[in-house]
Subunit: 151 residues, 2 copies
DNA sequence: CCTTTACTTCAAGTCGACTTGAAGTTACAT
DNA sequence: ATGTAACTTCAAGTCGACTTGAAGTAAAGG
């Protein structure tokens, strides 16, 4: 901690500690315009407490499987001038809840199929429900194919 | 298709087509000992049809968020000599179902929290349930932090 | 026999989300 | 005033799961 002035803006170290992320992650987020900071006379970053909410949103959104690009798109819909209020966040989180529902549904499907397909040791792979679930993979660029699809 | 002999082993191209993955992915899986092939006199790979089930398992497991390392661990518990039977696969899938349940539970928690926390626009980030959900992140090596946790 | 298509290996490239390191600067506590 | 912890930028490294490309070999159809 640098100072104890209650109303002061936070240094990157303090902010990172409160946000539960590393300072390098914060700089990275800022480079992507996900969060903002102001600078001191000596060029150091200072954060408003309201930015904590943005970071919280980013981390939570990530655990639901959103990419930083998608998160940026969501955050960009927040008002520039005023501090986002309850209604703003609610608009965002509605979108989000649909995603969670979606993901849960996918997992449920997979689990149901487990009972009837791979679990049964069947050989009819071409007709296997699990197997034919994700068909639109392969053939388009580099990088991990699976691991987490953000549909 | 190379030949129409019904009982023949499959070339990598045919196998890939049936499995719905690319040939390069198959070679990669083989390099990790996830699947096996035999070689022709001319050093080309030939696959038994039973291997299709392994690939189906791999792909399905990936959609649930397992890494290839974890999948290998699971597959290594299958018998070496005989072709895996219904009981073998069922033993595996039981383990698997627990993982799916786990993942669903996590998402449900997150969704519940959404109703009370970020959605409300609260400022008490330090007490926020979503925010404090994933604390054990940061500080251990490179690579993506989030995106999908395989706990 | 010849041509095409499919295969072989191996090294290097790719993507997202950061981290790490180097070289230098600022701010706070004594 | 000074030591040191915290900060600055920028380039390069990392991880998993593949893909891409080059250079060469094999197999099937005509």
């Amino acid at each position: 901690m640098t100072t104890h002035d209650p109303g002061a803006m936070l240094s990157i170290g303090d902010f990172a500690a409160r946000a539960g992320v590393t300072t390098s992650a914060l700089r990275y987020y800022e480079s992507l315009d996900l969060i903002r900071s102001v600078r001191t006379a000596g060029n150091q970053r200072r954060y408003r407490r309201a930015e904590l909410r943005r970071v919280a949103f980013i981390r939570a959104a990530q655990t639901v499987g959103l990419s930083l690009d998608e998160i940026k798109a969501a955050l960009d819909r927040l008002p520039e001038r005023r501090v986002p209020d309850r209604a703003d966040w609610q608009r965002l989180s509605a979108d989000w809840r649909r995603r969670i529902e979606d993901r849960i549904a996918r997992l449920r499907d997979l689990q149901e199929d487990l009972d009837g397909c791979i679990g049964c040791g069947c050989l009819s792979i071409d007709r296997c429900a699990i197997y034919n679930r994700e068909d639109a993979l392969g053939e388009e660029g580099a990088g991990p194919r699976l691991g987490f699809q953000t549909p």
